[in-house]
Symmetry: C2
Subunit: 322 residues, 2 copies
């Protein structure tokens, strides 16, 4: 399947993943509503297996690989996709090699190792991680599991919106707006598909860290933009060069706009999540929360924000919450 | 109503609180199951309004006070009950005075003030907080809201077990064991009533911090025991002198045993919740988790643990997670 995924693929993924993923809670907070100036529902994917939404897409992809193959899987990842592939592979009895940057958060490296994966390190500035992972995949006759530019991965991530819409029905007010973090755009591509199918007049916004706002600029110019190579951000899971070849056309069609947040706005959101929501949210997982706390999007109805992950080192976390 | 509460009172409380409290999630974690050596379900009451289960009992009590009374409510509390009474009073348009220790966690004092309460401080060693609060209640003709020794408060706390049992049904394995923190014993009294009514052959265990194990020792001796006056613990919400007059007979009848955990075991549990569960849990809220991580209770079936609260100062939290 090299075609872009459809809402049908998201539904098939949801059925395939049933019983294998956690149904993460949709939370509300009177304090958040007050700060955001609107009703906000929080999809807490930080509480998913492996501490991020990435388990959905990874497990969906792995379930579609020939189960008789003993050659396993290879992935490159700053950490959350790597953990997800490692954990899904362990559940399915497949070997996994994960290619990670040497400066990945310690917790992400440790947890990937705990899931039994073979870890190979690369340097973000010098090495070509795609070439490294592809070479390993060829040598081992293993399957490469892309972190976003894959229809099974995108469809898997979209399942979180199907859950969210069911859960939101209990709150009485159907959501009008979906706001989610954006790196390569796999999450928001899958979620956008599922959200707009259910809420055709709704809006979907991507949120990126400053310096890595390639999707926001691509949406404005209509052409895929790249980030400058020497940008820095604490959002280690969103440091992508440019929108994906498969994700970009979907996102170009579905997104109402791209929002950008600074590192200090992200730290403030992590502190808010600590103080008011009692959720451990990593920097990349807090960008949508930061966007609503800073009122960067004019909300005209109930919004859903996705808190995507909680894998953060204690010292990074302590600096954000004090 | 000066009689001990019954399961009927818990059911009435659940109906009364419907729509006023949050339905907190019941979470699972493969990593916790592995560490505990058994299936464990986590009732995350840290995600309740005001960041602790105390909102249930406080709101239930306040809803039973004459709503026409403009004289409001008075409570004494180390912080979580105070926040709960303040927030419930604000929702119902009642004035609230909260008597708090000067060494209460800063976050608890700040949040109680944010909910609009009038705060009065006392010294844990020198002042009689009961006398202080009673005097204020008499002067203002206000209603004193006890933190545990009250049938409406106990019944309100018990509602979390009714929710838990409904949620656990989705997991397919009915719980056999309930494990919850114990200070004055209001939470575990209400929860024990509701749990044993549904699971008559089940077991209920209280968990207390070392130095404040009055309930554990009372269960062994059959007589209410006091703690020594100069004991210390980081579990600021569980520093009670002795079991309550109303809670003790209920707990004496219902508890299978009392477990004790040390401060370092509590810190390890807070770190586990940070790393593996992605939940912010305060010291007092982590004692049941500490008990299962340390395997202090022999589990013969699925256990429910209550993570009761998440109101912790950043510096205390940072020390626990590093």
């Amino acid at each position: 399947m090299n075609q872009p995924p459809t809402i049908g693929d998201v539904r098939v993924a949801a059925a395939r993943l049933s019983g294998r993923i956690l149904r993460t809670p949709l939370l509300t907070s009177p304090e958040l509503d007050e700060h955001a100036g609107s009703r906000v529902l929080i999809k807490a994917e930080s509480l998913q297996k492996t501490g991020s939404f990435k388990f959905r897409g990874a497990m969906n992809k792995l379930l579609c690989i020939d189960q008789n193959s003993a050659n396993g899987v290879v992935a490159f990842s700053s950490g959350n996709h790597g953990q997800a592939v490692a954990a899904a592979a362990r559940e399915l009895g497949m070997p996994a090699v994960i290619v990670m940057p040497v400066d990945a958060p310690r917790i992400k490296v440790e947890k990937t190792a705990e899931y039994g994966a073979d870890i190979r390190f690369y340097d973000r500035r010098r090495d070509d991680r795609v070439a490294m992972a592809s070479k390993i995949a060829v040598e081992r006759n293993a399957t490469l599991v892309p972190s976003f530019d894959d229809p099974y991965v995108i469809a898997g991530q979209g399942t979180l919106v199907l859950e969210t819409l069911e859960q939101a029905a209990h709150f009485g007010v159907p959501p009008r707006v979906l706001i989610a973090p954006c790196g390569g755009g796999g999450l928001i591509a899958g979620c956008g598909l599922a959200f707009l199918e259910a809420v055709p007049s709704g809006s979907v916004y991507s949120v990126e860290p400053a310096g890595f706002d390639d999707t926001a600029r691509s949406l404005v110019t209509g052409i895929r933009q790249r980030n400058v190579p020497d940008a820095h951000s604490i959002c280690d899971a969103l440091l992508i060069d440019q929108p994906g070849a498969l994700t970009w056309p979907i996102n170009q069609q579905n997104l109402s706009g791209g929002v950008v947040v600074t590192d200090s706005e992200v730290q403030a959101a992590m502190g808010f999540a600590f103080r008011a929501l009692k959720l451990v949210v990593e920097p990349s997982g807090a960008v949508a929360l930061a966007a609503v706390l800073q009122r960067k999007i004019k909300l005209t109805g109930t919004a859903v924000i996705v808190c995507t992950g909680g894998n953060v080192d204690p010292d990074t976390y302590a600096r954000a919450i004090v």
